[in-house]
Amino acid sequence: MHLFVAYLDPGSGSLIIQVVVGSAAGVIFLFRNSFRQGIQLVKGLLAKSSANSAK
């Protein structure tokens, strides 16, 4: 039992884990966004080329 958590916790642990988790989540977020953007780009290019070939 860590009584310090109840009486003295200055919130350091929360801030530190937030930085760690946030950074990891940020990287995942970045990859996910880049992946989605990539998919959109490919979709756009495919749509463009099919429109050109239809002409």
Partner: protein, 444 residues
């Protein structure tokens, strides 16, 4: 906060001046108020005097008619309040501000939807600063939701004991092992608790730690995903299926509805408190007429179902809440005055107590007189259903206990309630020996 002439006001001090000005000039207040995510307010500085020194503005926030606390919410209400808090934070960041609190007590339900009531919860966002409300969000929302979803829905009652949210080390001990394998819960609850323990006596460790805007977006997105991923399905509880197991015939059920409607027309309440409301079937007779109605029930499953109906049908005047009537929410916090007790918040014009009296008198040994006195504290008007001893529902209660309730009779009921109330109407229900009463307090 202060009241003058019955109206609620709030003083904004000079110390908060720059953040308040940013809140208003950035357009954040207007956007959140437009989306119904915050109570709108009017600047009444020129019309109202400052009650204390140091005042910069006086604002008049819109009042929320029914005040409730997290330990009275069902699973979906807490989840919606959590997601509203994250949504508000995301909108705030787009305007260059951030929430400095993520307290569940800052959220209330208005017109069936969660709304932030603390206008002054915002401060300027400084790039690189971590979210100061992160710990509070995890303790007030994520931990109780995870406990409800993965351990037991009744554990939300821990919020009554821990007024600043459930300590994460305690939540971690109560959660099943499988939650350690779920990356988001493992990070925001289990690792978070470990980090709190690790650094609890090292206040300097967090100094200078920075969190980029991108990482903060990722953190918030992860919190939203963790919150949304939690599910609780109301099933298998005593009351969740109550209306499937009652002994009313179709005719007596319809007649009961008709009579309650007539009594409501007679009393014309503007606020109703339904005790033992189950999913709120009869509460809706009032709320559908535009009467603000609180529907209390002890069963989280019944309240969950009631709330889901409120959402699905966009009902704006009904608030289903969880409450054990034999142990109602007390005053909590500093000097027992930070959170008002149930009896202060539930005051109404009318109490509905349908098919409830036998549970109080027989299952909980409460004398009729005490019940009448309590209900009289809540409202002047009372619609109450007397359920006689030979009713099958009462017989169920007596099946496993000795019948020591020789005083449980209609005559005694009328005599005891008659001390506090005038009986205005007495209507037996068809195909039943139950009786529906309309009473008015003698004090009024």
């Amino acid at each position: 906060m202060f009241r003058a002439g019955g109206t609620l006001y709030r003083q904004v001090n000079h110390t908060y001046r720059s953040d308040y000005d940013l809140l208003m000039s950035s357009g954040l207040h207007d956007e959140l108020a437009g989306q119904g995510l915050i109570v709108a307010h009017r600047d009444v500085t020129t019309a109202v005097e400052f009650p204390k020194t140091g005042g910069y503005k006086v604002i008049q926030p819109e009042e929320v008619p029914l005040i409730s606390y997290p330990y009275e919410w069902c699973f979906s209400q807490l989840q919606d309040a959590a997601l509203a808090t994250l949504n508000i934070q995301l909108v705030a960041m787009r305007h260059g501000l951030t929430l400095k609190d993520a307290s569940a007590y800052n959220i209330q339900f208005r017109q069936g939807r969660p709304v932030l009531i603390d206008t002054l919860s915002f401060e300027k966002y400084v790039e690189g600063e971590p979210w100061v409300a992160y710990r509070q969000y995890c303790q007030h929302f994520l931990a109780p939701l995870a406990l409800m979803a993965h351990t037991d829905v009744r554990l939300l009652q821990l919020m009554r004991v821990y007024i600043d949210g459930i300590p994460l080390d305690l939540a971690g001990r109560l959660l099943p092992l499988k939650t350690r394998l779920k990356p988001l819960l493992a990070a925001h609850l289990h690792l978070h608790a470990r980090s709190q323990r690790r650094y609890s006596d090292q206040p300097g460790q967090a100094k200078g730690r920075r969190l980029s805007r991108f990482a903060l977006d990722g953190l918030l997105s992860g919190l939203a995903a963790a919150t949304k991923s939690l599910r609780w399905r109301p099933a298998g509880t005593e009351w969740g299926e109550y209306y499937s197991f009652t002994n009313y015939t179709e005719g007596s059920f319809d007649e009961k509805k008709q009579l309650i409607g007539d009594f409501l027309d007679q009393a014309k309440p503007s606020r109703v408190c339904d005790l033992g409301a189950n999913t709120g079937l009869f509460s809706r007779l009032a709320s559908d007429q535009g009467v603000d109605t609180m529907a209390f029930d002890i069963d989280p499953a019944a309240v969950e179902k009631g709330y889901r109906q409120v959402k699905a049908q966009s009902q704006t005047h009904l608030l289903p809440l969880v409450l054990d009537l034999t142990n109602p929410s007390p005053g909590l916090g500093w000097a027992n005055r930070e959170r008002e007790p149930f009896v202060e918040r539930a005051r109404a014009d009318m109490v509905l107590a349908l098919a409830l009296i036998h549970h109080l008198a027989i299952a909980n040994n409460l004398p009729f007189g005490r019940v009448a006195e309590f209900m009289g504290q809540l409202a002047d008007w009372l619609i109450i259903e007397f359920v006689p001893k030979d009713d099958s529902q009462v017989q169920k209660l007596l099946a496993s206990r000795q019948d020591i309730f020789s005083d449980y009779s209609q005559e005694r009921f009328e005599a005891e309630f008659g001390r506090h109330y005038d009986i205005k109407q007495r209507r037996p229900l068809k195909d039943s020996r139950r009786v529906l009463y309309l009473m008015k307090s003698k004090r009024s």
